[in-house]
């Protein structure tokens, strides 16, 4: 899709800041290609530390002191053991951190997740490792860890042989109450994706990204539910009241006719709503539209899409890099996370960071845009905003996928 002749991109990248105030920008020492793990810890000495996962090697994770959001300071940055892996996802809970390890090929190591004691942010100390490697496994792509007891993750396993190589990661629940000996307590996969299943494998999508788990959110409001995004399989609500035997409650998908890659599910419990994102994975908006969907979830067995968050004209943004939905602020159930059922903040690659007022969920309204100038060395010539987290002070942290590092902002709407 060609860029409009008069579009900002065709005239050179044009930044937009609307109802956000940029407080600080940190390129993270030249390693500013960030993944989708962002979590805030209040360290024992009172400092506020944001832990950030990197999108790809060579770095593992970076910790930034954001006690003064106008003066961020990198306090720790670690390396991966080799270049054929990434630690795309992490979460902290108190002074413990779980970091996902995914390898680029099957049967490499380390593949799984590692647990750290982060009491001293400058010196994270490994206290446990859960191995998920195997002949058909790339390890863990994403994890959720908010209660200090269980890691819910999208993972492969040595004993799991998928019917299609792309379908290697499924939902696993791991007990980490003894961090030195994590134990799997339950798992669930989409029927038909494991060899030996008694149903046919699912049909492949035009853009085939796999029937596999992505986000695995579990909230204390419904500890018996896992809100599981399953990439090309849409999304599932799982009953995990018996962790050993998760059961499907419901499924919703928009694909086809859309092009799959469902990414994140955030339930808004009071409101009976659900936010669902897809991820744009193709450059030049070839997989447009990738959207943030709003579902009427008053009946969890009958999920009804009622609207999407409005996006600008794709013709303007299709010139370079990815354009479309990806991560949203997930109301992570921690004291250090902002909670809102009125505002949705999401990252849209070259569409930047965008905020929506969903007071009327039938008519979401864009209320803020932060589309900064392309950071120096940006391979696409644009920002590729990848993830967002908001702390309980309502300070917004957003990261670039390739080089831009960390942007710290205030909401001004």
């Amino acid at each position: 899709m060609p860029a409009n002749d008069k579009s900002p991109l065709s005239n050179g990248y044009q930044p937009v800041t609307w109802n956000f105030k940029l407080l600080a920008h940190d390129m993270l020492g030249g390693f500013g290609g960030m993944g989708e793990g962002m979590s805030v810890q209040i360290a024992p000495d009172g400092r506020r530390i944001i832990w950030l996962a990197h999108e790809s090697a060579p770095k593992n994770f970076t910790a930034v002191d954001v006690s003064d959001p106008r003066k961020p300071k990198v306090v720790c940055q670690t390396d991966l053991p080799h270049a054929n892996m990434r630690s795309n996802s992490l979460e902290t809970c108190g002074n413990m951190m779980a970091v996902a390890y995914q390898t680029s090929k099957k049967d490499l190591q380390p593949a799984g997740f590692e647990l750290f004691d982060i009491s001293k942010p400058e010196n994270p100390k490994s206290i446990g490792f859960f191995d998920c490697s195997g002949p058909h496994s790339r390890g863990v792509h994403q994890l959720w860890f908010c209660d200090g007891e269980y890691v819910h993750c999208a993972s492969g396993s040595r004993d799991f042989t998928p019917t299609n190589a792309l379908d290697d990661q499924f939902y696993r629940c791991v007990d980490v109450r003894n961090p030195s000996k994590p134990v799997e307590v339950g798992r669930w996969w989409m029927p038909g994706t494991r060899q030996g299943d008694n149903v046919m494998p699912p049909p492949r999508h035009t853009i085939d990204k796999g029937y596999r788990a992505h986000n695995t959110n579990v909230y204390p409001q419904r500890p018996d539910r896992c809100y599981l995004a399953y990439i090309d399989g849409g999304m599932f609500v799982l009953d995990i009241s018996d962790k050993a035997n998760p059961k499907k409650v419901s499924q919703w998908t928009n694909s086809p006719p859309y092009t799959g890659f469902m990414h994140t599910i955030v339930p808004l419990f009071d409101r009976g709503l659900m936010l669902v994102t897809d991820e744009s994975t193709e450059n030049n908006a070839k997989d447009w539209p990738k959207l943030v969907w709003i579902l009427d979830a008053r009946d969890e067995t009958n999920l009804v899409p009622i609207s999407t968050c409005p996006m600008p004209d794709p013709a303007i943004y299709a010139a370079a890099g990815r354009f479309g939905a990806h991560n949203i602020h997930e109301n992570v159930p921690l004291p250090t996370a902002w909670q809102s059922d009125q505002i949705v903040l999401g990252t849209f690659f070259n569409g930047g960071l965008r905020a929506y007022d969903i007071a009327n969920p039938y008519q979401p309204k864009e209320v803020g845009i932060f589309m900064p100038p392309a950071p120096p060395g940006a391979p696409t010539g644009t920002i590729q905003m990848n993830d967002v987290f908001v702390d309980e002070r309502a300070i917004v942290y957003a990261v670039d996928r390739h080089v831009g590092g960390l942007y710290i902002l205030e909401m001004d709407f």
């Binding site: 009071d270 409101r271 600008p312 004209d313 303007i316 059922d341 007022d357 007071a359 009327n360 709407f413």
Partner: protein, 338 residues
């Protein structure tokens, strides 16, 4: 909406806002009689850092000699200016111009402007412009008038105020008044003009600008803070008076709404501007209301009160409506609603 999708975070008026305009595009309306110096003021503002990202709409060509590069008259097209501003000239239709600005911004056809300044013609009554934002729900959802600023020149202003009802109305409806050309008038004349303006509009702060030099923040910063120093009744002439209704105890929203409905039904034409900050029973933050003649903006609840004063305060600028009658109406409706 709260019935279907309840939220502990929201108020009956929707999401609680940090400020009245919420996420809407701020608008400054600049009025002033012919030759008052509006364009000079605007040009200086646009050249300042604060003026960057401003879209300008001139709703009519007046007799003012607008001949500089900032303002172009050719085609009613949106024009990108050298300093990064957008200048749109429309002769007749403010609504179309504003809608088009939003549309073009979304399509990337104009730069992502962050505010709009509307310069009215010298003879314009600002009332209909204010009303436009109340009656056009689409516009009201995108734009919010932060400031109505009226420029009065020190040389001819006094005569204009005496002889022209439009000039008086511009002064009466202003949030801020700016006296221009003080370097060309005697101090005594400036003093007389200042007193006359204070008499016409005791709510508004009065600034002085020589050759258009005015702190740019005075053009764009909303006036909520200044309005908190509500003043007593003032007679403006032309039968127009302003007064403030205050109430210390929380107001039940249905009673307030019904009282306003009654007032509007009976005397809507004479309600030139009504703005209030209300302590509504059951609401955490203050509720801001605005009316222009028959039309009310959707009320918004703010996250926090601007100061320690928790009294409800409503300013009326009205024609031939006695304060006593309004006060009695509110008291009667509240009493009946109990």
């Amino acid at each position: 909406m709260l019935d279907l999708f309840p939220s502990r975070e929201a108020s009956p008026f929707g999401r609680r806002l940090k400020r009245e305009r919420g996420a809407r595009i701020p608008v400054t309306v600049v009025t002033g009689f012919l030759g008052a110096g509006k364009t000079t003021l605007l040009r200086r503002f646009l050249a300042s850092p604060e003026g960057q990202g401003t879209a300008v709409i001139i709703n009519e060509f007046g007799a003012v000699g607008i001949d500089d590069v900032l303002v172009r008259d050719s085609t009613e097209e949106t024009v990108l200016l050298g300093n990064g501003c957008v200048c749109c000239i429309t002769r007749t239709d403010l609504q179309l111009a504003l809608r088009r600005l939003v549309f073009d911004r979304e399509r990337g056809l104009v730069p992502p402007f962050s505010r709009v300044v509307i310069e009215t013609s010298g003879l314009a009554d600002p009332g209909p412009i204010l009303q436009t934002f109340s009656t056009d729900r689409a516009l009201g959802g995108e734009f919010h008038i932060d400031v109505v600023l009226t420029v009065v020149d020190a040389v001819n202003g006094e005569a204009a105020l005496e002889g022209m009802p439009e000039a008086r109305k511009q002064a009466i409806l202003a949030d801020r008044l700016v006296i221009s050309k003080t370097d060309l008038a005697s101090p005594a004349a400036v003093d007389r003009l200042t007193q006359r303006l204070q008499q016409l509009n005791p709510r508004a702060a009065i600034d002085v600008a020589v050759a258009g030099a005015l702190d740019p923040h005075r053009i764009i910063e909303p006036v909520t803070g200044e309005r908190s120093s509500f003043v007593a009744e003032a007679e403006h002439g032309d039968g127009i008076a302003s007064f403030v209704i205050e109430q210390q105890t929380p107001i039940a929203w249905p009673a307030f709404a019904r009282a306003m409905d009654t007032l509007i039904a009976l005397r809507g034409n004479d309600l030139l501007r009504v703005k209030g900050i209300l302590n509504v029973a059951g609401c955490r933050g203050p509720v801001v209301v605005q009316y222009v003649q028959h039309f009310g903006h959707p009320p918004v609840e703010l996250e926090a009160w601007p100061d320690a004063n928790r009294a409800s305060r409503i300013v009326f600028i009205a024609r031939s409506i006695p304060e006593r009658q309004v006060r009695d109406l509110f008291a009667a409706v509240q009493a009946l609603a109990k």
